[in-house]
Symmetry: D2
Subunit: 365 residues, 4 copies
C-alpha cells in the first residue's frame, strides 16, 4: 500500500527552507521519501529559482547526491508573486510503500510523471497536450487511482519559450507557435491544461488540435493547474486523487468556483475532502485542513456578475495575475480562517473562463 | 421629517457621470436634493480630481450655478485606486424635508458639516481633531440622530500638506507636524479619525493630544473612515446613522471586522441594517442592499492570524493600500454576491490596527 | 504669409492650464489663433483626458464656444505617463495670416488635417494608412511646405479599438484586425506611421498592405510620432516643417538617433533648426530652443550595442514605455540642459526599430 | 607591489555566473586572487541574494571551501533593480602581491575592511559612522593609498534593520533609531556615508552626531556609495583609489555631477582616470574603460534646473530609485557608448543632494 504524507511549512523568504531541514534533521521526515514540493514564493520570477536552488542545496546534503540529481528526482513547483493576505509557504509531499491493510476507504494518492523533453516548436501544440495526457494516465496508474472522478488536482510545470530556444527552432527551419514569449508561455500552459483534460476524458481526442489551444475556451479541465518556466525542458505532472490503494492519513477533495464569488464551489471541495461543512466551516473541521491549492481565474474577466472591474484597464497593467490570486486567496481564506493557501494564476483551459479550481487536502477522521 | 435617498450607480471611467445625469434628466432625482456623492474611482490620484470635475460640471448645468458653487454645496468624496474585483461606481445621497408621519422606527439620516479652513500647521494636530469632533456633533444634530450608538459611519475628507502650504507655514514662522508629505497626510487622516472618536465619545478628551496622533493606537473610532486630499482646505464631515426623525426607505448598520478574515463583523453590519442573516445572506436579503462602505486596514499588518503576509516586504512597495482594499472588497463581496462595494484604505485610528469597518445601507421592509 | 507662434509652458498637474490662461488674458496670445496643443501629462491614461478637459473648458470660456466646439477646432495631443526627469508641460501653437514680406529663408509652418471617421474594422489597416497619407499631403499643402525634405515632424493621434467598437464591427459582420485591445492599438499606431511614410514618399504605395502593418519593420517614417486614444474616432494629423511661405520667428529641425545612445542624431536636429553645435551646445544656443518633441523607441529592443537590457524581462512589466521615454528625455536633456522635452513612446514604423526621432524648434536669428 | 585586476562581465540573469567560472577555469583569473565582486542584478531584492548565492557556490567549488567561508572572504555587493538601458553585469576585482618595480605613477589600488558586528541599536547612529570611518582609514592603508585626494570611490554595504533585530534590541531594553524599516535602512546608509566622509576628512568629527544622520544634508562625502541589506551584520568597506604602491594596469578617476544633467562631472572622472576627453570621448578612449560605478541622486529632488519632475508625485511611487539609476545610466552611457555601467541609488550624504558620483576605471596607457 502507498502512504502519502503532507507537510505545509512557512517560509520567511525565498531562501528559507529551514522548516523542512528541521523536520528531516529531527527524523519527522525521511529525505528519501520526499517526492514533491509545491511552494508559494514571494518576490518576482527570479525568487522562484532562488527558492528551488535552496531546496536543492539543502536536500542534496541530506540525500548525499548532487543538486542536479535532486532536481531530476523531486519535482519542485515554485509559484511566485504574492500579494494581499497570501502567506509564503510550501507543501512537502512524502510517499512510501508500506505493509498495511487497506482502510476500506479511498485516501490521498500521488502519481508523478515527466514527459520526454519537448522541442521548442512543440510548445503550445497538440503534441504537448498529448504528451501531457499520456503522463497523466501513467501518473494515475502509478498513484493507483482507478477512476478519473477520483482525480482532484493535477499540477503541471511546463517549458517556456526563450530567445535561445526560438533561435534553436529557427536554425533547424522550424516555426514556434508564437514569437512573443508571453503569448508562447500562455500557449504552453494552455496545451498542458488541454492535455490534462484529454488524459482524464474531459475533452475528446479529436478536439485537441493546435488551433484549439488558447482559442476554443469551451474545452477545459476542472482539475488542472499549469505553470510554465524558462528552466523547464519537459512537462512535470503531479496527479493527486484518492485511492483504495493508499493508507494515507489524508483525503483530497476538489470543487469548481464558477466565478470568484462562488463560495459554494469551495465548500464542495471541503465536503469532498471529508470535512463537515453545512454553511460555515466549524473550527474543528478547519483544524483538519492540511493544505490547499487554488487555481485562480479572475484575471480572465473584465467583469463579475455584471459589475465591471478594472482587471483589463491600463493602471497596474501586468499585475492582474497577482490580484486574481490575492482575491481568491482572501475569499477562501475567510472560509477557513487561514490564508496560507497556495494560489496560482492561469486561465488557459484551467476550468471555464473566470472560474477558480479549489483542491483541499484534509486529515481523515 | 427628513427623507434620505440612496442611489448606487456604475461608472465606465472617471469621466462617466452619465447615470446620474440620466436620473436627474428623467426626474428620478431632483438635482437640488443631491447632498453628497461618494465615489470609487479607478486610475490614480488625478482621476479623483477628474471625476469630481465631471460631477461638478454636470451638476452646475442642472443646478444653474457655477462649478465652484457646486463644489461648495455638495461634498464629493472620491476614493481612488481600484484593484482585484473592485467595481468603479458612486453613491449619490439625496436629502429633503417632507411632511410625513414618523415610521416608528429609526431610519437612515445624514448630517453634513464642514469645519473652518485649517492652517497648514494645524494639520495632523489635536486642533484638527477637535474641529472635526465639533463638526461631528453638529452633523449628528443636523441629522436628528440622538444617540452616538445610532451613528454607523462617518466619512471625513481632510486636507493634505503640500509644498505651497508648508512654505506658507514656514513664511509665518510656523512648523508643520511633518515635512514628509506622505507622513503629514497620514497624520491628517489620523487627527480626523481621532476627532470622530472624540465627537462620539469613543475616546476621552484628555487623550486627544498632538502626540497621540498616529502614535497611540489604543485610541480609535469604530465608525470613522478618513481620507486626505491636496484640494481640501477644511474637513468635510458626513455623518450617517439612524434616526426617528427620518422617513427614509433605508436603514444603515455597521460592524467591525477585527481582522480581514473576520466575516462575523460584516454580518453584524448586515443585521444592524435590518437584513436577515444567520449564516449566508439569502438572495432576497442581498437584493435589499443599497450600498456599502468599508474602511480597509489590512495594510497596517505584516501578518494575519499568525501567518506572515508580504504587505510589508519590498516587492510592489506602494501598492499595499490597493491590496488591502481589493482583499476586503473580495471577502465582503463574496458574502453579498456583489463587488460594487466602496473600499477605502486607512488604518490611522480607524478601528483597531488591522480591523476593517463595514457599513451597510439596506432598504427597510 | 503664415505666422506661427510657439509657447512651451509648465503645468503643475494635469488640471493646471493656468499659464496659457494667463497669456491669453494678458494679451500675449489671442485665443482665436491657438491651433494645436501638445502636452506631456503626468499620471496615468485618465490624466490625459483630465488635462484635455481643462484645456477645453478654459478655452471655451475665452472663445465663447462650447467644449465640443473647442475640441473639434483645436487638436490636443496629450502624451501621458512621465518618469525620471521628464517635466510635465505643454506646447501651444498659434497660427495666423499676416501681411508681411517673405524672410527669404524657410521658417516654421504648420498644417493640420483630420481624416474622415474610421470604422473600427479599418483600424490598423492599409485603409487607415492611406487616409493618413492623404491628410499628410493636404496638411503639407495647407502649411505651404513644398518639399517633403522640409517636413520635420508629423504628429498623429488616432483611434483605439474599444469593447464597444469591437462589438459594433461584429454586429455588422465585420472583423477587426485584432481582438486584443493593446495589439489593436499598436496596429492603429503602426498604420498611422506607415501612412505618414506613404504621404511623404518614404515607402512605396505597393508596400502598404494590411499585412505589412506591425510586421514589415523595414518600412518606416523618419518623422512620424503616432499615438492612439479611446476618445478618437478619426486621425488627427499635425505636419510641422519649414516653408518660404512662413514668417514665423521659429525654425524646426529633425534628426534620427539610430539607437538611444546616438547623440549625433540629436545634434543633427539642432543644426537643422539653425543652432550652432559642433560638440556641446553653447549656452546661448540652448536659449534659442523653443520646444522639442522626441519619439522614443528603446522599448522595442532587448539590448543596446551588444549589451542586454531588461526592457523585455518580467520585472516592472508594462512600464517599458515609460522607461524608454525617461532615458531618451534624460540623454537629450543632458545635451540641452533642460528636461522639459516631450517624449512619446512608440516604435511601430516610427523610425527603424530602436531609433529615436528628434524634432527641435528654435528661434531663428 | 600590489597588482589589481578588473573584469567586467555580463550576466544573463541573477543566477548566471558562468563568465567568471569560464575565466577561472581557463586560467585567466586565479580564484584565490578574487577579492571583491560588485554586481548590477536585475529583478527585485531577492535576486540580489540569489546572485550572491550563485557566486558563493561557484567559488566554493573553485576554492575548495564552504559557501560561508567564501562569503566571509570575498565582499559581494549586489545592487539590484534595473530599468531603462541598464545592463546586468558584475565587476570582479583581483588582487595579488607581485615582485615588480613601481611604474612611477599612481595606479588602481584596493583596500577592503569589515567593521565589527553592529548591534541593531547602533544602526544609523554616529557609532556606525565612526566604525566605518575607522574601516576606511584602515582600508586606505591596506591599499597603500597615501592621500585622501587619491581615493576615488568607497563602496559600503551595511546592515538593514529587520523585525528580528528590532525585537532583539527591544528585548535588551534598547531603542533603534527608527521602527520603520525603510527609514531605518536610509539612516544606516546615511551613517555609512557620513563615516566615509569622516574617514576621508570631508567632514569634522564634531559634526558627526546621531542627529546629523539623514538630517544635516550639508555634510556629505563626494566618493561614497552605500547600500544596506538584511543579510549584513557588519559594514563591508571597499576603498578604491590610486597608489604608487600599485602596478595595476588600471587607473581610477572620479567626478561629481552636481545635478543629473551635469555631464562635465562625468568628464572630470574620465580625465582623472587618464582618458583624453576634451568634448566627446573618442572611440579609442572609450575602449580603455574597464568599468564604471555611479551613485545616483536624482530621486532626492522634485525638480531639476527649475523644471518640476514627477519624482515625488503619486504615480509609480516606490520606483523613484530605479528611475534615478536609469536616467544617470543613460546619460553617462551616451557619453561612453555603453550602458554596462553600475548605477546605485542613494542620496543619503552621498554627495550634495541631487548630485551623482561617478567613478571610472580605465586601462593606463
Amino acid at each position: 500500500m502507498m502512504d502519502v504524507g503532507v507537510y505545509r511549512l512557512p517560509m520567511a523568504g525565498p531562501d528559507d527552507v529551514s522548516e523542512l531541514a528541521k523536520l528531516i534533521d529531527n527524523g519527522t521526515i525521511r529525505a528519501e521519501e520526499v517526492c514533491a514540493i509545491i511552494a508559494q514564493t514571494e518576490g518576482d520570477g527570479y525568487a522562484r529559482g532562488y527558492a528551488a536552488m535552496n531546496f536543492e542545496l539543502m536536500l542534496s546534503e541530506r540525500l548525499g547526491m548532487s543538486r542536479e540529481e535532486v532536481s531530476a528526482r523531486i519535482p519542485m513547483l515554485m509559484i511566485g508573486l504574492t500579494g494581499g493576505l497570501m502567506s509564503p509557504h510550501y507543501t512537502v509531499f512524502t510517499r512510501r510503500e508500506v505493509d498495511a491493510k487497506p482502510t476500506g476507504e479511498k485516501r490521498l494518492a500521488l502519481g508523478i510523471k515527466i514527459t520526454r523533453v519537448l522541442k521548442p516548436e512543440e510548445y503550445g501544440t497538440a503534441v504537448q497536450a498529448r504528451l501531457v495526457a499520456e503522463a497523466v494516465r501513467e501518473a494515475m496508474k502509478e498513484a493507483g487511482i482507478e477512476r478519473v472522478e477520483d482525480v482532484c488536482c493535477v499540477e503541471v510545470k511546463c517549458p517556456n519559450l526563450t530567445a535561445a530556444r526560438l533561435e534553436d527552432a529557427r536554425s533547424r527551419g522550424k516555426k514556434c507557435c508564437r514569437t512573443n514569449f508571453a503569448e508562447a508561455g500562455s500557449k504552453s500552459k494552455g496545451a498542458s491544461a488541454l492535455g490534462v483534460a484529454l488524459g482524464l476524458g474531459e475533452v475528446q481526442d479529436a478536439d485537441v488540435t493546435d488551433e484549439a489551444v488558447c482559442s476554443n475556451w469551451a474545452l477545459y479541465s476542472n482539475v488542472a493547474s499549469t505553470s510554465a518556466g524558462n528552466e523547464q525542458v519537459a512537462c512535470k505532472v503531479i496527479v493527486m486523487g484518492n485511492s483504495v490503494n493508499s493508507v494515507s492519513k489524508f483525503k483530497i477533495g476538489n470543487g469548481v468556483m464558477q466565478d470568484t464569488l462562488d463560495i459554494e464551489g469551495a465548500r464542495e471541495a471541503f465536503r469532498k475532502a471529508g470535512l463537515r461543512c453545512e454553511h460555515d466551516l466549524p473550527e474543528e473541521e478547519r483544524q483538519r485542513i492540511a493544505t490547499m491549492f487554488i487555481n485562480a481565474g479572475a484575471d480572465a474577466m473584465g467583469s463579475i456578475r455584471g459589475r465591471r472591474t478594472t482587471m483589463k484597464s491600463d493602471y497596474l497593467v501586468g499585475y492582474q495575475g497577482i490580484f486574481a490570486k490575492a482575491v481568491i486567496n482572501a475569499i477562501v481564506g475567510s472560509l477557513v480562517g487561514d490564508t496560507m493557501i497556495l494560489a496560482s494564476a492561469g486561465y488557459e483551459h484551467q476550468g471555464p473562463l473566470g472560474a477558480n479550481l479549489v483542491a483541499c487536502i484534509a486529515r481523515a477522521e
